[in-house]
Symmetry: C2
Subunit: 423 residues, 2 copies
């Protein structure tokens, strides 16, 4: 699909401006970046009425188009949500600046001193959907890591995102940084996404899609530049024979039911055959009390006859809903084999007291995050101490797991000599 | 271009075997991997006669096709070169094992302990040209880092590579590791490269091209999987007004003339206007004494009238030959601007005694490697202490600079709790 000439030209121009801004940002001081993000928070706080008015227009247009309640809830801003965006900006502003920090250093026998220091990646393209707060989160994380960013929000949130973007630009200006450092694509033409995925003539270094499966799948299919993405979070919790019962109940209930719509929610419970008589029903009963539907294999149905029979499809489904699939396994080896076969390699947890089981689980599964005796819902940049995340990557190149400011950097080598020549 | 069905099927099968081998390798012990590489070195040492006979056939076929002397020199093996391959294998065998090492660890206020540990990337596709030693180097580096590898060498070196590959497989078998961990594409059909670039149905995680510009450009254009590549090494050395004269002469001569065909060779010399009377002619005279052709701008020609006038093309050319382009600049700022405009972002050096100049040079240039008072020819994994390299990456995603065993790894997060649930 080729974009009309004027759109392609508009996007190419945005790319050029972003590249120029990135050169300036790469050398911006930590203080200026911090100041810009705090000033953006101030500007957003002061522009509340304008942002809420813009959001009301988006909400009205969405309701008119018959969008679902869940969709409208993601789109909606109110004073409390704006408070949340403002404070999230301040958290990112006050993070340690990653750029220029030394990752490693060593000396060579010939006296060369080598250090590996963090640098920005360059220009990041963020493609997101209805949540307008992503404008602020992504803009601030990219700025903090010294990158220019081109943001492309969903057409349904275009007025809300525009009002938030205005505040970010005000922050850049207040700190004397280039206002092209955070650009928002000013058109709802879907062809703009296609242009970004082609990389804007080499002006975009990496694409971060934040949204549902359809968006992420399109991005991974079409992108001609690197992508930090995960297709889905099909997460597992395995309860071993050595698990503490009370802990297993509370952790599994939290992993499934705290919030069912996030990518770190557990979708499948695997349980050791030896503890069916002691652990299975307490866990499933607690889940049901929270409103969770249970779909089980034959051994589960034998103990919980009114459960729904699980089919092959269930092991492959990220419900994002109050439903759990439950399978009985012979041991941690069978649990590992099931997970390696069905998982999206996002996050998996083992509940066990036996350290040998834990180490086997940690070594045998190649997922971004492995947890022991903890809820899979901790799979989150904020919970990891990253001060926020632009997404969670399940790929293995460059970034994996929560993508925070450090993951938005590259590095270069600085070599200090005293006149060495190579023999 | 679609490959014939049997080739596509052959390649897909290699991909499946590599993926299966990668699962085993990811959990192989450090001892087994070390043992396999030493055993491969033993096998190669013992199979010298067979390897040299295979290489003689490649050489005869190459001579018959009228290949250049330089080409035949890259293809040629003799006892000394086999010694070099054997000892390079042993160096890689004895490197610290990167897999499972902890990159970072920290605790959270809720008691969760998080660590980030190295994991293999998975399956690496290496596409190379005439140098048969790449078979051994790449095979050993991938194995050491726990990755399976699919090697595709040039058709001109197919017999030599095959004989070396036999030794690598013998090493795997001796250590009880899967013999599919290091596979060599058994056909010279160029369509095999196309199949690899498409990723073999998701079986290849990253492609490493090792060869000339045509190969690397094809790979970067066609690849549908991530690539660690550099298009060229257009490296610069800047001699500042504060440079020590004797050091400037010896470092520039080494940077240009030690070996002119490697990617870390300096192609353009930038020199500060204030030292034209003292530094320019000693440097250029020393270069000429080593047989280097000088191409200069107007100010250089004013002092060295028989130099060749440099054109715009010269600033854009990686000569890979005994030619240097020389430009006079007003200060480090103009040097940085020239480098940022023309460089391939591989390696640049500054010769200076003024620390402020060095820091400006280091901060202002976004190349993989920046050197101070040292020859650009140190841009090499071995010289960095990596024990070898599979190539030098000029991209900014995942790997940058020399790609050694650590750069061939990814990571995962291990989170250890005591029953934590997320509020």
């Amino acid at each position: 699909m080729n974009a009309p000439l004027d759109l392609a030209a508009l996007m190419a121009e945005m790319g050029r401006k972003a590249r120029a801004a990135a050169s300036v940002l790469a050398q911006a001081s930590a203080e200026d970046k911090q100041k810009a993000i705090h000033a953006a928070a101030d500007a957003l706080d002061a522009a509340r009425a304008k942002v809420l008015a813009a959001n009301s227009e988006d909400m009205a247009a969405g309701a008119e188009r018959g969008m679902s309640t869940a969709f409208l809830d993601r789109l909606k801003l109110d004073d409390k949500r704006i408070d949340g965006i403002v404070s999230a900006l301040r958290v990112v502003a006050d993070l340690p600046d990653p750029v220029g920090t030394t990752i490693a250093d060593w000396s060579r026998p010939n006296g060369l001193r080598i250090s590996r220091v963090r640098t920005p990646l360059g220009v990041i393209g963020v493609i997101f959907e209805s949540r307008p707060n992503v404008t602020a989160d992504a803009g601030a994380l990219c700025l903090k890591s010294g990158n220019a960013v081109i943001l492309r929000g969903g057409s349904d949130s275009v007025r809300s995102s525009g009002a938030i973007h205005d505040a970010l630009v005000a922050g850049l200006v207040a700190a004397g940084l280039p206002d092209d450092a955070i650009q928002l694509v000013p058109t709802t033409d879907r062809a703009a996404v296609g242009e970004m995925l082609k990389g804007l003539n080499g002006s975009i270094d990496v694409i971060v899609p934040r949204g549902g499966k359809t968006l992420v799948a399109r991005v991974q299919e079409e992108a001609r530049v690197p992508v930090f993405a995960h297709l889905e979070g099909l997460c597992h919790t395995y309860v071993d024979a050595s698990a503490d019962l009370a802990m297993a109940v509370s952790v599994v209930v939290n992993a499934k039911m705290r919030r069912t719509g996030i990518c770190g929610a557990t979708e499948t419970l695997l349980i050791h055959r030896d503890i069916l008589d002691t652990h299975l029903l307490p866990i499933l009963t607690a889940l049901r009390e929270k409103g969770c539907e249970v779909r089980g294999d034959a051994e589960v149905l034998a103990r919980l006859p009114d459960a729904v029979p699980a089919t092959e499809t269930d092991w492959r489904t990220e419900y994002e809903d109050a439903i759990i699939s439950v399978k009985v396994v012979a041991d941690v080896g069978e649990a590992i084999a099931h997970i390696e076969h069905y998982s999206s390699h996002h996050t998996e947890a083992v509940i066990a007291e036996d350290p040998a089981v834990v180490e086997r689980f940690f070594a045998g599964i190649d997922s971004a995050i492995l947890m022991h005796n903890a809820s899979t819902q901790f799979a989150d940049g904020g919970e990891f101490g990253f001060g926020g995340e632009i997404g969670i990557a399940t790929g293995k190149m460059h970034a994996r797991g929560p993508v925070g400011v450090e993951q938005l950097t590259s590095f270069k080598y600085l070599v200090r000599g005293t006149g060495q020549t190579r023999p």
